[in-house]
């Protein structure tokens, strides 16, 4: 494998990890807000119990992704930095508000309601902003004026594909988080929360998959190249849909104790569904980072810097494996934590 292909594969893997963790994180924040005042179900407590110890780690994965883009593809920074300054800048601003308000909410009595609403709603706006980056790279929205890359906001904002991308991002976020929190509720023996999240997973599943398919239809004409590549990759996308059907069906199958839904297997199938889809989409996106201005090879750093970086990634994650294991045991497995009053 070429070094630059290896680099983009690692980058897509990090994107995959962050899109799952980010969906759980922002989704949990949103569900926590929605059920914050509801006494019928403990869905909000479950969501917050998951969120409290994990948000920092999720946030680090966002930073890992950004740093990897810049360090693996330094020649992409000028282009990406210029066109993404405003959307990413606003995203950072909202992320800061969300993070700080979420933590502040636990430590103060006053203004709790305001802080809860702010952090919950920004949990929808931030993913919407992040997913807006995808259509920008497809072609048609970026041009060069006097050698400077410019993003055409007016065209982007009036193009239906932007809104379909956002709808896709949000429905996916809420679907993944609902299925995951359903399983988390089961682990906590909290059946009211379990049913609440199952209910949402059942309507969000078909909605998210329908929107995903419709979104491809709204791609701008400049993006025909990727549509062709996606059609060539149909086998992989078909496999992704297959895992969706398995995961979705598992939500309905009764277990021996009479409760409907094999939540653990369903989560696994849904994560596989998105994993396969992301790699298939990533390979369809090749060879471009930003069509038609920048390819993966053009953006890539020199190999003499790349290989030491690979070692750092290997050693870094290697050191962290026991830490992640401990983390998982304490917050996703330990009933003393999950079942606290």
């Amino acid at each position: 494998m070429e070094a630059s292909t290896l680099a983009i594969t690692i980058l897509w893997s990090l994107l995959f990890i962050y899109s799952i963790l980010g969906s759980l994180d922002f989704g949990a924040g949103f569900w926590g807000m929605i059920y914050g005042k509801n006494d019928q179900t403990s869905a909000s407590q479950i969501a917050n119990r998951f969120l409290s110890p994990t948000w920092e780690v999720t946030n680090v994965f966002l930073v890992i992704f950004v740093v990897s883009v810049v360090t693996f593809f330094p020649f992409a920074t000028t282009l990406l930095g210029s066109i993404l300054l405003v959307p990413v800048g606003i995203g950072l601003l909202l992320l800061t508000i969300r993070t700080t308000f979420m933590v502040f909410e636990h430590h103060t009595q006053k203004y709790r309601e305001l802080m809860r609403l702010t952090s919950g709603f920004s949990g929808l706006i931030i993913p919407a902003l992040l997913v807006s980056i995808l259509p920008i790279t497809l072609g048609g929205f970026v041009d060069f004026k006097n050698d400077l890359p410019v993003l055409h906001y007016a065209e982007l904002i009036t193009h239906p594909t932007l809104y379909m991308h956002i709808a896709f991002g949000l429905s996916t976020e809420l679907f993944i988080s609902a299925v995951f929190l359903m399983d988390y509720s089961k682990e906590a023996d909290d059946w009211s929360a379990y049913q609440t999240f199952r209910k949402h997973a059942i309507w969000l599943g078909p909605v998210s998959i329908a929107i995903a398919m419709l979104t491809i239809g709204t791609f701008p004409t400049e993006a025909n190249w990727i549509v062709e590549n996606i059609e060539d990759n149909w086998l992989w996308f078909g496999l992704s849909v297959f895992f969706f059907i398995i995961g979705y069906t598992l939500l309905f199958i009764k277990k021996r104790d009479g409760v409907r839904g094999w939540s653990r297997l369903a989560v696994t199938a849904i994560i596989l569904q998105y994993g396969i889809a992301i790699y298939a989409y990533g390979s369809a996106h090749l060879p471009y980072l930003v069509y038609p201005h920048l390819t993966v090879t053009e953006g890539f750093t020199n190999p003499s810097t790349f290989y030491p970086m690979l070692i750092v990634y290997g050693v870094g994650f290697g050191i962290l494996i026991p830490a992640f294991y401990l983390f998982w045991r304490l917050f996703l497995k330990d009933r003393r934590y999950l079942k606290q009053p």
Binding site: S52, P53, T54, E56, V57, N59, V60, L62, V63, I64, V66, S68, V69, V70, T71, F72, P74, T77, T78, L80, G81, S82, L85, V86, V88, G89, I90, L92, L93, L95, T96, I97, T99, T100, M102, V103, F104, H107, T108, Q109, L148, T301, N302, S304, T305, P308, M309, V312, Y313, G316, I319, L320, A323, L326, F327, L330, F331, D334, R336, Y337
Partner: protein, 442 residues
Amino acid sequence: MDIVVMARILFGSSLGFHIIYATIGVGLPVMIIIAEVLHYIKKDSDYALMARRWTKGFAIILAVSIASGTIVGVLISLLFPNFMEIVGQVIALPFQMEIFAFLIEAVFMSIYLYAADRLPPVLRFISIISVALGATASAILITDVHAWMNTPAGFNITPDGSVTDVDTWAAFFNPSFGVTAIHVTLSAYMTVAFIIASIAAIRLMRRGLSTKERNYHKKALTIALYFGAIMSLATAINGHETAQMLHEYNPRKLAAAEGLFETTRYAPLSIGGYTSLEDQRVKYAVEIPYALSFLAGDRLDTEVLGLNEFPEELWPPLYVHVLFNVMVGIGSLLIVVAFFAIFWKHILKREFPGWLLAILAVSGPLAMIAIETGWCFSCIGRQPWTITDVLRTGEAATKSSSVGFLLGLFLTLYITLLFITGFVLRSYFKRNPVSKDLDAAH
């Protein structure tokens, strides 16, 4: 306003905001470890309470620190894309290592914060040590990039601007890495010690404290004073090495710091005053004969280069002399304060009078001012370069006209968050006063 100027203000204010929280985030875990160790040795529950309360404060600070650190990390690529293009090719390694250090800190912080009561003592101790190691390693690794900007190494640049002959490890171990990293770490430890001293001193100035409360705050103050004294002295010794590093690798910056125009042997050290371009000297300063030569080269006859050796367009702004003096002045003052307070308390064995507590109460904010002026000195003193003698700030910055819009938004955010953090910390510790925790413990 010029786009480059606005980009600099936006990034500078982001860093200036982040550094407040980051400094506390680096130093506080070490203080928590000290409290945990003292609890283990002395079996005094006050120290356990101290560790617990500091951890609560740390959790609030860390949230802002992580958020603002994310801003700084992403914003630097957006605002200085041409700079990051070179960074990505030459000095990417510390950036990536920093992320893993950060990840270790984040994972173990959650564990220490939310699972301490479920962990065996050994594992709990390993957790807080990992938090401290992760935080300090983060600081050291990011400082490495900053040091490399000051004393770039490990690559060549062709006239058309492409990077060649990259030597990753030569860049990593660039000439100023060691001294600068130690400087940042020690000064962060020192600053947090004085912040703790400030809080304890303010509490002790109140009337009507119960004996239990008074003892609790006294113990906190003692830890802070000893740790602060050691760290401020160590920072000063290392500061001396930093000056010698400047003399060797960055003489232009040293000349600007000292307001020295003509190359001089037996150069005096100018303390205070401001650098006057017309008079070619520092006005209204106290001069210590030979001291600058001695500081730069350990000999009275060391030749110190003056600004006039360099073209004027490459001079940093002359006001960096003031920034430098504020940093060094506060640092020196705090050494005196800490040692005097220890002498008073443990040699003379007398209680702290109100005036001494009042001085201690301002020591924390003063130390933070020294941190801010130190960073400003180091970054402004490097101008007009972003990477010394390689890349000018004007070439490094973005050309995007949207910077002004973002500048307004971010400045508002920072000011608001400074107030809200203060408010949340106050409101939390007001609802959970020491007296309540002490009663609960007994």
